[in-house]
């Protein structure tokens, strides 16, 4: 996986099965010191659930510091929750969500898909998962029971959708404007979720 904005300003990370292939993904390595060597970074062992119906199961999340723009020390977290299921993980796509915290802003993205590879060579040959990359709006309308709903999602290049953004205690809202023949017909704040 590649974290950060890409190009030369990126951080490499991998998830691995410390017990060997098929034992279950339980650890991540992130090149936090960005020297191109994952062996001198502390392994990030995934915690296990201590309560509830998932007690004892892996909670496949980890946090790390990484670059963001011209700053170091942005806080990233990644939760590969699809790996927390019982039984060995299968190769292929697995859902994840991730967060970025920088200054007093926090971004929460959901519905990402990570492809698990069976070898480092295969992983490096595939497309990277780039966190904090470019995003685009996807806008659509739906009709149901005589009502029309306009929705918009801000998606990154992994297919993740911005679920919320916070600035301190504030939660900025997207603003929707509907224009007909160039004239504003409606302006409304949208809600996340």
């Amino acid at each position: 996986m590649v974290f950060g904005e890409g190009g030369t300003d990126s951080t490499l990370g991998v998830v691995d099965e410390s017990g060997g292939t098929g034992a279950g993904y339980d650890v991540a390595y992130v090149d936090e010191n960005r020297n191109g060597d994952l062996t001198d970074d502390a392994p990030k062992k995934f915690p296990t659930y201590e309560r509830g119906s998932r007690t004892g199961q892996i909670d496949p999340r980890f946090t790390f510091s990484g670059p963001f723009g011209d700053k170091a020390g942005a806080k990233y977290s990644l939760n590969l929750y699809a790996l927390g299921r019982r039984g060995p993980a299968t190769p292929g796509d697995h859902y994840f969500f991730w967060t970025l915290g920088t200054d007093d802003w926090n971004y929460f993205f959901i519905s990402g898909k990570a492809r698990l590879s069976s070898s480092a060579a295969e992983a490096l040959a595939g497309p990277p998962i780039r966190l904090a990359g470019p995003c685009k709006w996807q806008i659509e309308s739906k009709r149901r029971s005589g009502r029309v709903t306009v929705s918009a999602g801000l998606k990154d290049e992994n297919g993740c959708t911005l679920r919320s953004v916070r600035h301190g205690r504030e939660q900025p809202s997207p603003k929707l404007t509907l224009l007909k023949n160039g004239k504003v017909e409606l302006e409304e704040d949208m809600k996340f979720g």
Binding site: F68, G69, L100, T102, D103, W105, Y107, A132, C135, K136, W137, Q138, I139, E140, S141, R143, G146, R147, V148, V150, A152, L154, L162, V165, H167, P172, S173, P174, K175, L176, T177, L178, L179, K180, E185, L186, M190
Partner: protein, 32 residues
Amino acid sequence: MVADGTYTAKVELDAGPYLGKIAGEKELQLRR
């Protein structure tokens, strides 16, 4: 509430240092 018709939907969010002021637009046919 708006009448049925063709609209240009514009969405904008002032999303801070990561995304900045990010906007998008799409033409939508709104029919009930």
